[in-house]
């Protein structure tokens, strides 16, 4: 799984998308607090990065 995520992260980076926008976390259904903390932390991270900029075709 880490191999796939690392490859995806490398591809994103090469195409100008911040690799921090991809996060993989292992959380089970019984780890409610951990899940909430991870999501909260990730949302803060994303807000600090700003809106995702996708490739815009232009002439």
């Amino acid at each position: 799984m880490w191999r796939r995520m690392s490859l995806l992260r490398k591809m994103m980076e090469q195409l100008g998308i911040e690799p921090e926008r991809l996060r993989v976390v292992w959380v089970s259904a019984s780890e409610g607090e951990k899940f909430a903390n991870e999501v909260r932390d990730f949302v803060e991270k994303l807000k600090s990065l700003g809106p995702l900029k996708m490739y815009e075709p232009s002439r």
Binding site: M1, W2, R3, R4, S6, L7, L8, K10, M11, Q14, L15, G16, I17, K53, M54, Y55, P57, S58, R59
Partner: protein, 320 residues
């Protein structure tokens, strides 16, 4: 009963697709006898003005190869669309952007600056071409070089797709024969085989994939054997590519680069192929994963060599 009118045009193209039309050999003679070629820049002397004279939809079939990346190409493919009943995209560039599509990782300014000023063998003080240049004889104009490379369906409606870089002459001949017989399938349709390149490839697969190292032709020789190239550790895209080419490249010791495009049930082939790469390589530790990543220096080029413009991400995001 007049013969059907056929136009053939090249946009951002290397000329290879046109040579493959000629490589249909004797079949071309039958086709040429059955149709009236009204426009074919590489081979015939018709002008743009001749195209303008056609009524809308008067041309029965227009075959366009090459991607769209400047204002002239966009103008002419749109003109041809108006004047044609049916349009077929010929070759990887028209179908999905092709090799020129890799330029979506750069802006026009970055490219022109590098090509005209910064390559090793370029004189200093060279100037990139401009859309208008004043000379003593008047103003010379050039088409505008776009930032983005577009595949043909991203610019006009396209009914038929004949992929490949270049497309196999057998598929070109098949498409033209179906057209002449009035038996083209309902659009949109891709003229490809219904299996993958692996099914056409004569190499031996043991089914044991334990790639110790990803190899590239730049640095490694394939084995002197009939062993599957993917099993040898080369990034052969055969499993992810539709058949129809006869696996020409693997037969010649070259890993498939995926020029025949993607199968229709996959949204983004590059992203999907990441799973294949990951599943074949037994890296577990962070160190082993880093080694795996270092063995594929240009991941985007490997995954999207022929179809970056038509992938989900489409190109490289510019830093603002």
């Amino acid at each position: 009963m007049s013969r059907p009118k056929v136009a053939i045009y090249w946009a951002a193209s290397c000329g290879g697709c046109d040579t493959k039309i000629l490589d249909t050999d004797e079949k071309l003679l039958d086709i040429a006898a059955a149709v009236d070629i009204v426009f074919w820049p590489i081979a015939m002397d018709f002008k743009y003005a001749d195209l303008e004279k056609f009524a809308d939809r008067e041309i029965d079939l227009t075959i366009i190869n090459g991607a769209v990346r400047n204002s002239e190409q966009e103008h002419i493919v749109k003109l041809l669309r108006r004047k044609s009943k049916v349009v077929a995209a010929l070759g990887a560039c028209a179908v999905s952007g092709g090799i020129p599509g890799l330029a979506n990782q750069f802006t026009a300014d970055e490219m022109l600056d590098y090509i005209y000023r910064k390559t090793l063998t370029t004189e200093p003080n060279s100037q990139p071409p401009k859309t208008e240049t004043e000379t003593e004889d008047g103003v010379l104009t050039l088409p505008k070089f776009y930032n983005t490379v577009f595949s043909l369906p991203q610019v006009i409606d396209v009914e038929y797709f004949i992929p490949g870089c270049p497309p196999p002459p057998s598929l070109i001949a098949k498409a033209l024969e179906l057209f002449v017989a009035g038996e083209l399938p309902p659009p949109p349709a891709f003229v490809v085989g219904d299996k993958s390149v692996c099914d056409e490839c004569p190499r031996e697969r043991t089914g044991k994939f334990e790639v110790k190292q990803w190899k590239r032709l730049a640095t490694h020789q394939p084995e002197q054997s009939n062993k599957c190239l993917l099993e040898q550790g080369f990034l052969c895209l055969g499993p992810a590519t539709p058949s129809g080419c006869g696996a020409l490249c693997p037969k010649a010791n070259m890993p498939c680069e995926g020029c025949m495009g993607k199968s229709q049930d996959v949204v983004d082939r590059g992203a999907k192929f990441i799973s294949t790469i990951a599943s074949l390589y037994p890296a577990k530790t962070e160190e082993e994963i880093k080694k795996m990543l270092d063995e594929i220096p240009d991941l985007v080029g490997t995954l999207y060599r022929f179809d970056l413009p038509s992938s989900v991400l489409r190109g490289k995001v510019k830093k603002s």
